[in-house]
């Protein structure tokens, strides 16, 4: 008899009913909500005349459209303010825990919810946000849903969902000096392409994955959606449980102790069948940067933009349109290309480890003249930690602006927009046209490559910089 994947173990444990010739009815342990994709779901409940079924299983935070300055003041933009107030009202009425702007637990939903101990191994977690895959780092089935599905979960704590195919991505060996987990996931996405894992749920495995910190694992799982995967998870291990045991809310919780006892079962059986399996050698992963308008258009920071025909399935009209938007040409090198903006933050790279890496890398240098840099901690807790460790102070002395937490320039719903035509090296997750503001040109990279660009004003190989990390 063949074994079971970790994914199937968790899925089956949450199966309420299998609909004949239809999707499964899956019970949801945790539902995270934010201001942008939830208001219409609450309106739907009101139209139906029903209330939230299990409010204690939902947690809310305001993150997408909040400003990253003057958070003690009301939000200036009336439409954004109304959206955040609507979330607050909806949570208050339903009895849902809410981390409003300025709350010490506020932050980007995928940064703060793990920090606060809500994300635990073996759970099913959904949120009206595609980067919900982040929580897979803890050995959960976590994925993004639409607003109708948010309404479905609020109404019934269940979701109608078709069981995806399973893919295992093995990363063997060890990452080289100067290469981060962000580089690793950009490398994987560049290899599999932006739609290459559509229909699949990924399990990341192998020595290089097991040796990553929890923050780094979250960065990897976060970007699973950028290759089309429904989500991505990593089997929990000592690193997971050691990280979780630092959370005050969990340290003396008996449920957590039971979970620790059970964690050895939360892994794929050795003979578990996967529908697809690929293996990468971590040694081969360079510092990466994207040159186009989807996250699959990535290359080594010292690489050459592929010529049409070499770039795989994307080498057609869409490919050239993408390069034209970026102001690049096939065959071009990006090393030395001037950069206007740096963004360190987002649910991909807005954690304490990212701030530490960036701060260590720029230590003893100054931000390059002409570069505007936004450093945006992913949560209030990250901001406090950065203060405590002296990172905020050091960064300010080096000429960097450290903002208050939020999604910020990753999707530019607030004022943190990159102007049209400007080049931004961003540690966020999407380089889509206009993602960081209309006409903005985004180059996705890891925190070290961002740091190297921040102090030189140009695209720079962090390995050539004698940076400290």
């Amino acid at each position: 008899m063949s074994g079971k994947t970790l994914f199937d173990k968790i899925w089956d444990a949450h199966l309420v009913r299998s609909v004949p010739d239809g999707p499964d009815v899956l019970f949801i342990d945790r539902h995270y909500i934010h201001e942008v994709t939830s208001p219409q779901a609450f309106s739907g409940l009101r139209q139906r005349g029903i209330s939230v079924f299990r409010p204690e299983r939902t947690v809310a935070t305001a993150d997408h459209n909040i400003p990253t300055v003057n958070q003690h003041l009301p939000i200036a933009d009336p439409v954004s303010r109304s959206q955040v107030e609507t979330l607050e009202d909806n949570c208050h009425t339903a009895g849902i825990t809410y981390f409003g702007m300025g709350d010490p637990r506020n932050g980007i939903v995928h940064v703060t919810c793990p920090e606060q101990g809500y994300t635990l191994p073996g759970m099913t977690i959904v949120c009206g946000d595609s980067h919900t895959s982040t929580h897979g780092a803890f050995g959960t089935i976590a994925f993004g849903i639409g607003t109708s599905e948010v309404e479905m979960v609020l109404a019934t704590q269940c979701l109608l969902q078709t069981r995806p195919l399973k893919m295992r991505i093995n990363v063997e060996g060890a990452l080289r000096e100067g290469v981060t987990s962000k580089d690793l996931i950009l490398y994987i996405i560049a290899s599999l392409t932006t739609g290459g894992a559509t229909g699949f749920f990924v399990e990341y495995a192998g020595k290089a994955i097991r040796s990553l910190s929890m923050e780094s694992r979250m960065t990897v799982c976060n970007m699973s959606i950028e290759m089309g995967a429904r989500g991505g998870l990593i089997a929990p291990d000592e690193i997971t449980f050691s990280w979780l045991s630092q959370i005050p809310a969990l340290s003396d919780n008996p449920a957590f102790e039971r979970l620790v006892d059970n964690w050895p079962s939360l892994r794929s059986d050795t003979n578990a069948p996967f529908d697809s399996e690929v293996t990468f050698d971590a040694q081969l992963v360079p510092p990466m940067i994207t040159y186009g308008t989807n996250p699959g258009m990535g290359m080594a920071v010292d690489g050459i933009i592929p010529l049409p025909g070499e770039a795989g399935p994307s080498a057609n009209g869409s490919y050239l349109k993408s390069l034209e938007y970026m102001g690049f040409k096939p065959g071009m090198k990006l090393l030395g290309h001037p950069v206007d903006y740096i963004f360190l933050g987002s649910c991909t790279n807005g954690r304490i480890e990212d701030l530490r890496l960036f701060a260590a890398a720029v230590a003893g240098r100054k931000k390059a003249a002409g570069v505007t840099a936004l450093i945006v901690p992913g949560s209030q807790q990250v901001a406090r930690q950065a203060e405590r460790e002296g990172l905020t102070h050091a960064l300010r002395l080096a000429g960097f602006e450290v903002r208050q937490p939020g999604c910020s320039s990753c999707l530019a719903m607030n004022d943190d927009k990159i102007p049209a035509g400007k080049y931004a090296v961003s540690t966020s997750n999407r380089n889509f046209e206009g993602r960081q503001g209309p006409g903005a040109r985004t180059l996705l990279a890891g925190p070290l490559t961002a740091a190297a660009a921040a102090v030189t004003g140009r695209i720079t190989d962090p390995r050539e910089m004698n940076l400290r990390w």
Partner: protein, 196 residues
């Protein structure tokens, strides 16, 4: 809640043959601050459709009067990126009832089905033929029969079956809402909770 039923759609088409069209292009984030479901159609493909001053971009397909219809024909991996259902609301609000491609992003597919917008997956060879045909002959009508799961171009031999999950198909054809389905099984959900 009752929804509009989907049975047979016959319409002219709008071709937008680009790959990997992400939901940020369909509806940019700066238009997501509304707390309503309506009104997103006016900003559908905003930054391709209008220039920085709000003037229509003449070459963009939605600004070309010869291309009109309720069917959008597009490229691979349509709807990738953000989970924003606003993308589906914008497409439907603009007046489309079906989107034809050779592949869709998973979340977009679910969102479309939950809103009665039919994602029709056909073979990439046929998609190329279809795109060429409707681009060269604007006004070409395409027929989508959900019950028979058949897409065809009347008057030509072009036709293809397409997959739809049986449960989803019944919901679409009868105008049923999948939340009602789950609400009707509350006792079973509570029994599951007790069994854990």
């Amino acid at each position: 809640m009752k929804r509009e039923k989907f049975t047979i759609l016959e319409s002219t088409c709008v071709p937008l043959p680009l790959e990997n069209i992400d939901t940020d292009q369909i509806i940019p984030a700066r238009f997501l601050s509304s707390t309503e479901r309506e009104g997103f159609g006016e900003n559908l493909f905003r930054d391709w459709r209008f220039d920085g001053n709000g003037n229509p971009v003449p070459g963009f397909v939605l600004n070309r009067p010869e291309y009109r219809g309720e069917i959008l024909i597009t490229g691979s991996n349509f709807g990738c990126g953000s989970s924003r259902e606003h993308a589906v609301w914008a497409i439907a609000d603009y007046g489309f009832r079906a989107v034809v491609s050779d592949s869709f992003a998973d979340i977009f597919m679910n969102n479309a089905l939950n809103n009665g917008l039919l994602p029709v997956v056909i073979h990439s060879g046929l998609l190329t033929q279809l795109t060429a045909l409707v681009t060269e002959k604007p006004g070409t009508r395409i027929r989508i029969d959900l019950d028979d799961q058949l897409l065809s171009v009347p008057g030509t031999g072009l036709r293809s079956g397409f997959p739809v999950n049986g449960f989803r198909k019944e919901c679409l054809m009868k105008g049923l809402d999948s939340i009602d389905y789950l609400l009707a099984m509350k006792e079973e959900i509570e029994a599951y909770e007790r069994s854990r």
